[in-house]
Amino acid sequence: MFTLNYRVVLIALLTTASTPLTAAPFAYISNQLADNVSIIDLATNKVVNTVAVSGKPAGVAVSPDGNKVYISTPEADGFAVIDARKQQLLTTVKTSNGALGITVAPDNKRLYVADWFKNTVSVLDASNLEIIKTITVGQSPSGLVVSPDSRWLYVANRLDNSVSKIDTHSLTVKKTVTVGEHPFGLAIDSTGGRVYAVNVESDDVTVLETAAMKSIATIKVGALPYAATLALNDSRLFVTNMDDGTLSVIDTDTLTNIGLIEVGEKPEGIGTHTDDRHIYVANWFDKNVSVLDAKTLQVTETIKTDRGSRAFGQFIAR
């Protein structure tokens, strides 16, 4: 009996090892209070694995090739790296003790980690995870996005009510512009021409034209908005409203609200499926993820995750 079970396990192990899991598309949901990450297979919308990550995992960034997932761990002073193919923890890296916002450049060469307390962004070489430079930015930097050509990094400086544009060649701040009150999440369009800053305290979204770093509109959303994502060829912007348990839907052409969708309680991180049509929202208080169709604006599925689902950042590979 023992031998038989042993053989079954061995065969299972060999099978797993010889057929590597495909890298994408998956969603990686950080469950901050459970100290783990739920991996959702976007083909089936099922949690296929849960990886333990200590240090209160918060921010998520998936490498463009889908091979690695970087998870900021503010209580472990840095971030964790998950091997996306093996779906297991690869290593942990120390940066500084307020690590929260995290992103990886589209060219896969660099990793950026914002420090909420030290007002800095650490720049790391993605190939060896060594810090190249630490850039001083505004107060409480949070959301980070990189332009599609990897040339510019944008940082939301929450307590300074501003967004900074950083030159990724010289690694210096090129320009800083005032937005609404307490910007947190950022979204960038596929051309890199626009950045949307989600302002938690003023309940609105500032639309920035990145070339001149000029605000072209401010759009009212729900209470305590947190983050945003684009879908349907950048035509619609979806914003999580934490206090209302809703998503605001914005037409990016007219820059007006065109819908409001009920999701779970305390919706936080939000991301778009590689099909550019389905939206995934982490509901912090409900310990689940809502899936909705950007065309019909209907919630199509709810996926159970774990305590404190946050998923702040780009948690689905581009």
């Binding site: 503010p74 912090w284 305590r307």
Partner: protein
């Protein structure tokens, strides 16, 4: 000069709204041997929190309408101001958030004076809801909040442990007393 003051005020206001990196939660339930309409009758008025032993009195503006504001005076004299965010008479549920609190004490930490609020939490929101189960009722009280200390390396009075202990204490005391009142 005017700009200088505006700037000062701006920094002060901004600072007051920051929070720690990890939002905490408390989620408590209790089963009461009384039908839901009886339990709801005790807690349904946002402006009456006399069912909680720690509350001495409640002042209310706006009844049970969204946006209503209540000021809770605690038995030890502190005050908590809360705003009603959602109210559902059918689902037997309402949600609210703390908008202001009095200071319980002032401590010195990392060379700075820190005001410890009567409940050591920040950005606090909560929901209380009833689930009828025949002749009994399950009451669920849950909250999400941050620790009171907004910078790194919090003092013991304002860290996550203090925040969680305070909320758990408030919820347990309140729910136990609600059970006693409803089962009378």
């Amino acid at each position: 000069m005017k700009n200088y003051f505006a700037l000062l005020l701006f920094f002060f206001t901004s600072f007051a709204y920051a929070h720690g990196p990890v939002r905490q939660d408390t989620d408590e339930t209790i089963t009461i041997n009384a039908p839901a309409d009886k339990v709801w009758g005790i807690i349904k008025d946002f402006g009456d929190m006399s069912w909680h032993p720690a509350i001495k009195s409640t002042d209310i503006k706006g009844g049970n309408d969204k946006g209503a504001v209540r000021v809770l005076t605690l038995t030890d004299g502190g005050t908590i101001t809360e705003e009603l965010k959602k109210y559902d008479d059918v689902k037997l549920s309402y949600s609210y958030k703390i908008t202001d609190m009095s200071t319980a004490k002032t401590i010195t930490h990392a060379g700075q004076e820190e005001k410890v609020p009567v409940v050591p939490v920040g950005n606090y929101s909560a929901t209380i809801s009833l689930e009828p189960q025949g002749e009994t009722t399950v009451v669920r009280w849950k909250a999400g909040y941050y620790r009171a200390y907004t910078n790194n390396n919090p003092p013991d009075e304002m860290n996550e442990v203090a925040a969680n202990a305070a909320i758990k204490g408030i919820f347990t005391t309140g729910l136990n007393n609600l059970k006693t009142l409803a089962e009378k």
